[in-house]
């Protein structure tokens, strides 16, 4: 196995160009699904790899609770045995698990608290249900996903300040956009890439890419629902301008540092351009096709490599365990 056991930790680097190309050239729905799946697979493989290294690393430590057979010279012979990597994997895996656990817990808490904030009653719900209009002059809008366990339906939360800044076509566009988030369960993709980015920092570009493509996906659905790409574009543009008084989030300013337009102008520009083709996978010969297939191949190789390492390790450790 040798150095191949480290492959799943490094392969997420392939995600950088892939994220960029998929975001620009694939239909947002396909891009969101592809990039989330790639991120999830690579993250699981990377974590598995870390766990294997940890088992080997821990077996070297004196006074560990593992069977003595696991630190036999034969085992060390058979496994990629590297003192530094093995020992470093212990805190790394611990950090990954802690970070993912915290992110999941925080995700649940924010959703629960937001639902509780609406639960007091007295929030006027517009026709059609599921839309909570809050009497707040600060303009904002978002989709609050429902929860099957807590028997909560998904709701659209929008402030009076936001609605006041839009005309009726733009309001429909905004609601259609948020409804698309809810029906498409987009928060699952977003959570998946957030956890992946915590499992392996090399996967962070995928998180940024998916949070953009998920918005684009909802924009396209909204454009189809209200029958006007331009109305959706205007709604996004106006909403961003009236919200502009709010401080700029770090991610947006980081993007601007590369002299690239932020996500909002790119979304508006994409809506003013013709609708993207919702076709199947691009052919291999084009740059996009190459990137898409490269991502699939990278994920597959990573998964195989992890599985191979896991099976080998399992067999070796079973052989070394005194029964």
């Amino acid at each position: 196995m040798g150095v191949f056991v480290f492959l799943p930790l490094i392969l997420p680097l392939t995600a950088w160009p892939v994220a960029r190309l998929a975001e620009q050239h694939l239909h947002p729905r396909a891009a969101t699904r592809l990039l989330s799946a790639v991120a999830a697979v690579l993250a699981v493989c990377s974590t598995l790899c870390l766990a294997l290294l940890m088992v080997v690393g821990t077996a070297q430590l004196p006074g560990n609770p593992l069977p003595d057979g696991w630190s036999d010279p034969e085992v060390r012979e058979a496994l990629p045995y590297d003192e530094v990597a093995g020992t470093a994997a212990i805190p790394a895996l611990f950090a990954v698990l802690l970070s993912c656990g915290r992110a999941t817990w925080r995700h649940g808490r924010v959703r629960r608290r937001a639902a509780q904030a609406l639960a007091g009653g007295g929030v006027p719900a517009s026709a059609g249900g599921g839309v909570a209009v809050l009497p707040d002059r600060t303009p904002y809008a978002y989709a609050l996903p429902g929860s099957r366990r807590a028997r909560r339906a998904g709701r659209i939360v929008v402030t009076a300040g936001m609605l006041a800044g839009l005309d009726s076509a733009e309001r429909s566009a905004l609601l259609a956009h948020e409804r698309a988030h809810l029906t498409g369960r987009h928060h699952r993709f977003l959570l998946a890439v957030q956890l992946a980015a915590r499992a392996n920092p090399f996967l962070r570009p995928l998180r940024t890419a998916v949070s953009y493509t998920a918005e684009r996906w909802a924009d396209e659905e909204a454009a189809a629902a209200v029958g006007s790409r331009r109305a959706v574009a205007r709604a996004i543009g106006k909403a961003a301008l009236i919200s502009h008084a709010a401080p700029v989030p770090v991610s947006a300013s980081a993007l601007a540092g590369f002299a690239v337009a932020g996500p909002v102008p790119r979304r508006v520009a994409a809506l003013l351009a013709p609708a993207p083709a919702a076709g199947s996978w691009p052919p291999v010969r084009t740059a996009v096709g190459l990137a898409a297939w490269g991502a699939a191949a990278g994920a597959a190789v990573s998964a195989l490599s992890s599985a191979n390492s896991a099976v080998t390790l399992f067999l070796v450790l079973r052989a070394a365990t005194p029964l």
Partner: protein
């Protein structure tokens, strides 16, 4: 002694508060306050509620509402007279802002309709918007 009793039932009531959720009690108190003919004291609110809540509990809830900007108070003798500022929907809006403000400093959980604009984005966006509203719809334009 009276104070002791009030304190004891206050603890009971606060246990009850936790069971029922703070939001619900705040809504009840606010609803009572809005039926008041004018500024009223906590005792009036407590009687109006008729829920067997301790005086201290009512004051605690009123103080919390005051901290949220949902009620105003003015000194009236040795206690306060309270008037509502926000209604229940306004209170929900305040609670939501609190959730979002606590969330804003880290990774976003809730996908907002628009994210912030970077430097240069605003000008670019205004150009695009002009394009979006000026451009006459071409043949079959709007529905494309």
């Amino acid at each position: 002694m009276a104070q002791e009793r009030a304190g004891g039932s206050g603890r009971e009531a606060s246990a009850q508060t936790r069971r029922r959720g703070q939001g619900e009690l705040e809504s009840l108190v606010l609803a009572a306050l809005r039926q008041a003919p004018g500024p009223v004291n906590a005792g009036w609110v407590r009687e109006r509620l008729g829920e067997g809540l301790a005086y201290t509990t009512v004051v605690t809830i009123l103080t919390r509402l005051h901290a949220k900007g949902a009620v105003e108070r003015e000194r009236a003798g040795r206690s306060f007279a309270w008037t509502p500022v926000a209604d229940e929907a306004g209170l929900a809006a305040l609670r939501m802002r609190k959730v979002l403000d606590a969330e804003a400093d880290r990774e976003a959980v809730l996908a907002r309709f628009v994210t912030g604009l970077g430097p240069g984005d605003e000008r670019l966006l205004r150009d695009l918007l002009r394009q979006a509203s000026d451009e006459p719809p071409g043949p079959g334009g709007e529905a494309d």
